[in-house]
């Protein structure tokens, strides 16, 4: 059995005729994660005896000490350690060699085998990490709760399901996940929504009588009933003789109201203009209007609920033409306002369970409001902040409550305001971890037990720690491995770990894209929104089964079972499934098994009108093997139109005949072709456009396969370790909230070794991550 090195050398050599740039993809396929060597002497030898000579030959002419073209000198770092410290620089230099950009074609040409060797040397030296001497556990940036975490936390803290959180601005994604500390931001728009949410949630969790209703009524006199009988001008209604206008306010509650009438009138004749005000038939006031200019007059009215006639009559007309005295009434505006009498008590049946849970002690008897407040606030804040609230915090919040009470608010209302404050506090919205500086080579400090409890619960449940986990933290029991593992196991069986399935698996497998795909209706009429949801559910249920049954993680790739209901089974043309409920269905004897043959994965990796072997190949490389292919060059050259006939495969072969495309496509396409028997919505087919499907392929390292069975075998056997490591790294990214860096290699190696010894069972993946240094300790960013 040739070694990996031999294969790579052969692969590199066979591509020689196609140019150095093609070595890129082959190198990526071959240069997978290098082994970290803790041996200083070996590294020194690698640097001085192997890398330096290569640099001297191919690089130093332009990038040596004397000439540093473009300001880039590869001669500055004299030792393996210096190279390692200057990682970023050396990795970008390595990338230039990988892409074939350096050494440039017009200089000393380098053969692919040597280029591969140079790349491997730089990789192993730059990414060398000493796993013995307290490797850096890394540092995650302060993470705010994302949308889903916010909703779950509010639910678990208060029993309130805040659905409008779906309207929060989307959480930006980094490294494939939406819970990455560096990427999550807090724009003002989101803060507005948090405030609105806090108000609504506080009102749901603690019920207080609603604030009194207000009633406003406005009408211009010129718009009143019967106004047309009188003279109207510029918004002023003038009654020159006796008359009445009426308005009809619709009063929502019985109460005392203030009527404000804007009126004036031409005066004369010994008495002021007089207006009679009636409600229905009942006179309620006689108003003197002594001024010619409009003035506001207020009258208090009691009005019952309902529609009422409110009429205004001019009752003392006077006309003396001889002395030029003419008494008239001018009406301008009618305004009514009132406040409902407030309801002050709610019946017990109106109160939700959260109300009593939060207000577990009330003022009364020999408990003063201050004492009750302090106790209630202390418990509320501690649970919300996921650690004991400090005395200072309790004091400040109690003062806030006291202020509300001082302004006339009830005890319940004062706690509502405290709750509102807590829900927008940075200690609630962020997973705060105290900074603990340390230096390289020193033992690294662990995060506190409470901080660890928060990390664990958001990893497994996307929500706050439950009381049991908090108690364990309080008692320092999370450092007890046996107890910790028991708790992890129980958390995984708990329903709340569905969050891990929904949030990790759906992002890892890119299932969230399923909502946006739009398969062509004419070609795929049986694909509808219901199928879309059922497919998603199938995959998530499958993942959940592997998780809860503690199966080996490779079952995700080759498990010969899935979960279907009748509609979905019919879609897949799998017989014998009746009824709406999802149930486990055996796939033995069918070509399907594992994630790769599930409709969800097959659909998100297709185009609307046809399959895309390129997308499928890329999906496998990205998500199952952690080998993302280099991006496509923008200027993909023109295709030869005449020869674009035949099956998809035949057409794509023509593309790959073009050398500048072939390098990358030689890896992606075969993987995708193996899945060609599944159409763009995941149904099995043997023909494509009338031609039988050819699902065979060959990879750059020479491995040949034909169809899905072979592909599965390739992934679960030859590439099994790569898959396991990939899954570890992806889940670690999700669990900690930062991308996996080179120094995490130590932890990944340990988790991998442990999983290997336990048949790769799922629980050891989770426990391994939680017990790892990057999860338990704090280091620094590099």
């Amino acid at each position: 059995m040739p070694s990996l090195d031999d294969i790579c050398r052969i692969a590199a050599g066979s591509l020689h005729s196609l140019g150095r740039s093609l070595a890129a993809m082959a190198m990526l396929w071959c240069v997978t994660t290098g082994q970290a060597t803790a041996d200083d002497a070996a590294r020194r030898a690698a640097f001085e005896d192997q890398l330096l000579p290569l640099l001297r030959t191919y690089c130093f002419d332009c990038h040596g000490e004397a000439d540093a073209v473009g300001g880039i000198s590869l001669a500055k770092d004299r030792t393996a350690d210096e190279l390692r410290k200057n990682r970023r620089f050396w990795l970008s230099a390595m990338q230039q060699v990988q892409l074939g950009a350096m050494p440039p074609a017009d200089g000393d040409s380098i053969d692919p085998a040597t280029a591969t060797r140079m790349v491997k040397l730089i990789d192993s030296l730059a990414n060398a990490v000493d796993c013995v001497q307290h490797p850096n556990p890394g540092r995650v940036t302060l993470r705010r709760l994302n949308r889903i975490e916010y909703r779950n936390t509010v639910r678990d803290l208060l029993g309130v399901d805040y659905k409008p959180s779906e309207g929060f601005p989307g959480d930006d994604v980094g490294y494939g996940f939406d819970n990455i500390g560096d990427v999550l931001s807090l724009p003002p728009l989101l803060m507005e929504k948090y405030l609105t949410a806090a108000e609504a949630i506080a009102g749901e969790a603690i019920r207080t009588p609603p604030p009194p209703r207000l009633f406003y009524f406005d009408k211009r006199a010129v718009d009143a009933i019967d106004a047309d009988k009188y003279s109207k001008r510029d918004g002023r209604l003038t009654m020159s003789s006796h008359g009445t206008v009426t308005v009809q306010p619709e009063v929502p509650f019985l109460g005392t109201f203030t009527l404000r009438l804007t009126a004036g009138g031409s005066q004369g004749g010994g008495e002021p203009v007089r207006v009679q005000i009636k409600v229905g038939d009942r006179e309620v006031a006689i108003l003197d209007v002594p001024s010619e200019d409009p003035e506001e007059h207020e009258v208090e009215l009691r009005l019952p609920r309902g529609k009422r006639d409110l009429s205004f009559s001019f009752i003392n007309d006077f006309y003396d033409p001889k002395n030029k005295i003419d008494r008239n009434l001018d009406l301008y505006h009618i305004h009514i306002m009132g406040t409902e009498r407030r309801q002050t008590v709610l019946s017990k049946s109106d109160l939700p369970p959260s109300h009593d849970a939060i207000l577990f002690v009330q003022p009364g008897g020999n408990v003063s409001p201050e004492q009750a407040t302090s106790q209630v606030v202390s418990r509320l804040a501690s649970r919300a902040f996921r650690r004991p609230a400090t005395a200072e915090e309790v004091k400040r919040l109690s003062q806030l409550a006291a202020m509300v009470r001082g302004d006339g608010g009830t005890f319940e209302e004062s706690i509502q305001v405290v709750l509102q404050t807590v829900l927008v506090s940075p200690h609630f919205l962020f997973k705060v971890e105290q900074p603990r500086p340390s230096r390289a080579g020193e033992p690294r400090p662990p995060v506190s037990q409470y901080e660890l409890a928060t990390r664990i619960s958001y990893f497994l449940w996307s929500s706050m720690p439950d009381d049991e986990l908090l108690l364990m933290a309080h008692r320092n029991q999370l450092s007890d491995r046996k107890r910790l593992r028991q708790k992890i196991a129980s958390m995984l069986s708990d329903r709340r770990s569905n969050a891990l399935v929904e949030n990790f698996a759906s992002q890892w497998l890119q299932l969230r894209n399923l909502e946006a795909v739009d398969p062509d209706r004419r070609q795929f009429p049986t694909f509808d929104d219901q199928i879309r949801q059922l497919m998603q559910r199938e995959t998530l249920t499958f993942f959940a089964a592997v998780m809860r049954q503690n199966q080996p993680v490779t079952t995700l790739l080759d498990g010969e079972f899935t979960f279907l209901n009748e509609k979905l089974a019919k879609f897949y043309q799998i017989p014998g499934v009746r009824g709406d409920e999802f149930r486990e269905v055996s796939l033995t004897g069918t070509p399907r098994a594992g994630l790769l043959t599930q409709g969800s994965v097959l659909t998100v990796t297709s185009n609307p009108t046809r399959t895309s072997p390129v997308k499928r190949g890329k999906w496998i490389l990205d998500n199952l093997l952690n080998m993302p292919p280099p991006p496509a060059p923008p200027n993909v050259p023109e295709l030869n139109k005449e020869t674009l006939t035949g099956t998809l495969r035949e057409r794509m072969e023509q593309h790959r005949a073009n050398p500048s495309c072939a390098a990358c496509h030689k890896v992606m396409d075969p993987l995708g072709f193996a899945l060609e028997n599944f159409d763009a919505v995941g149904r099995w087919r043997t023909l494509d456009g009338g031609t039988p499907i050819d699902a065979s392929g060959e990879l750059p390292d020479g491995s040949r396969f034909s169809g899905i069975e072979d592909l599965r075998q390739l992934l679960t056997q030859q590439r099994r370790d790569q898959f396991v490591r990939c899954l570890i790294e992806k889940m670690m990214t999700y669990a900690i909230g930062r991308g996996v860096e080179y120094y995490d290699r130590c932890a990944v190696d340990e988790i991998f070794a442990q999983m290997q010894s336990k048949n790769h069972r799922f629980a050891y993946l989770v426990a391994g991550i939680i017990e790892s240094d990057p999860f338990q300790k704090q280091g620094e960013r590099e």
Partner: protein, 453 residues
């Protein structure tokens, strides 16, 4: 008969006397909200700027007019704007150098959005050390945003990308956000028209039930003060990167507080809100969704709720299909046309669809009477993409339209061809200076764009 205003309540004046009294008498009322009503004499309508983005470039032969100057034939894509030809300028030759690779490899879509309003070259990262630049709309917002309830508004039709890799090693934060308040803080978009309406006019429309303020509403400001202090204490204890996150929090709290206090001072009443049906939510169909959002755009500018607005039709590299147009392939997929005529025709169809929505916006804006003209006359609206040809992914000779007359500062109705390579940021710099911003440089500008007036 003289009427003394002091004796009258504000409501009375507005209700009872209509427009007989000119508004500057009433100092508690800011005339800004009533621009659509009889505008007070002597106050010119304010200048606004808006930026609209479409993805994946254009089919340029159907976009770029053959003739230059004031008499030019509208090519196929631009024909949907025929009614507004006199209101728009087609600008050719503008370039976004920041969006080019410069050795970073793939990721043109992410870069084109990140650079579109910033002119900067974003740092290629999947998460750690995000770094872009400050966008033109946010610079304007910082300088003149205090004059309106909202310093700026960021709208869109697609929420942030939610799954997987967005573009070749660039975090999705670059593909989903084109407005950046600082090199590390993007401004999130609102995609629900009902939510936009609510934000703009909460508690101020005729249909809201009158209710006294609840205790919780009354203490909003106290709560904000309280948590600010919490955050400041926390910030003192944290390291640099964490501090940046808490600073974002603090900025957000202060921003909301400013608006809270400002709203109380403005004593905003119902009268200033145009009679408009409240949107019910997010329509399923993209065209309807776009129109509703563009209605909100018009409303926001018309009521002077803001003078700075950005709008993304989709996120970068959008691969949605447009089956109603007969394009069942994904947009991004089709934009890599490899010179296929069929694909190019499909791209042109999509471009036309987007441009139709732009025409809809211009329709709305030109029907709002304002001062001695229309709302559109007082705006500078940029429409375009950070990519020119979708197959080549080139970032020079970008498809850019400048609509509106900028309060008389723009001579519209022309196709202006600039020397290819002229920074798009020169246009932005010109716009910022028109808004009264004190800047002499923006992004990669090398001067102020000429020939616009």
């Amino acid at each position: 008969m003289a009427i003394q205003p002091q004796q009258l309540s504000r409501r009375t004046v507005l209700r009872g006397l209509g427009t007989a009294i000119s508004l500057p008498f009433l100092d508690a009322m800011l005339p800004t909200r009533l621009l659509t009503a009889a505008a007070p004499d002597g106050t010119a309508a304010p200048l606004r700027m808006a930026f609209l983005y479409v993805p994946n470039g254009m089919h340029m032969p159907a976009w770029t007019p053959r003739q230059e100057g004031a008499r030019y034939d509208l090519p196929a894509t631009l024909q949907v704007l025929a009614k507004h030809q006199s209101n728009i300028n087609v600008l050719s030759g503008l370039t976004l150098d920041g969006a080019a690779a410069h050795g970073d490899g793939g990721g043109d879509h992410a870069r084109s959005v990140a650079a579109f309003l910033t002119g900067s070259h974003p740092r290629k990262t999947d998460g750690s050390d995000i770094q872009n630049g400050v966008s033109v709309d946010q610079i304007a917002a910082q300088q003149i945003g205090g004059k309106t309830p909202f310093a700026s508004l960021e709208l869109g039709l697609e929420a942030s990308s939610q799954a997987g890799r967005c573009d070749s090693g660039y975090s999705c934060v670059y593909t989903s956000n084109m407005s950046w308040r600082s090199p590390t803080s993007p401004m999130a978009k609102e995609v629900d028209p009902a939510a936009v309406f609510q934000r703009l006019f909460a508690g101020q429309t005729k249909t809201e039930n009158a209710r006294a303020k609840s205790v919780r509403e009354k203490y909003r400001k106290s709560i904000l003060d309280f948590v600010q202090e919490d955050a400041q204490q926390l910030s003192r204890k944290l390291g640099a990167t964490d501090k940046r996150k808490v600073d974002e929090y603090l900025y957000a709290v202060r921003d909301v507080e400013k608006r809270l206090v400002g709203a109380e001072k403005l004593h905003l009443t119902e009268e200033g809100v145009p009679d408009y049906p409240r949107p019910a939510g997010v329509p399923k169909e993209m065209g309807k969704h776009a129109e509703l959002m563009l209605d909100m755009t018009t409303l926001a500018l018309q009521t002077d709720s803001t003078r700075v607005l950005s709008f993304m039709f989709t996120n970068a590299g959008s691969n949605r299909s447009y089956p109603d147009l007969g394009v069942s392939d994904g947009h991004h997929e089709v934009s890599h046309h490899g010179k296929s005529e069929e694909k190019q025709a499909k791209i042109a169809k999509i471009n036309r669809f987007h441009a139709e929505k732009f025409a809809y916006l211009l329709d709305r804006m030109s029907r709002v009477a304002e001062g001695d003209g229309t709302l559109l006359d007082h705006c500078m609206v940029v429409y375009g993409s950070g990519i020119s040809d979708g197959d080549r992914h080139n970032h020079d000779d970008l498809p850019i339209l400048l609509a509106g007359k900028g309060g008389g500062r723009i001579e519209s109705g022309r196709h202006i061809r600039y020397k290819n390579g002229t920074p798009l940021c020169n246009l932005y710099l010109w716009m910022l200076q028109q808004m009264g911003a004190n800047v002499d440089h923006f992004g990669d500008s090398n001067g102020v764009l000429d020939k616009l007036s």
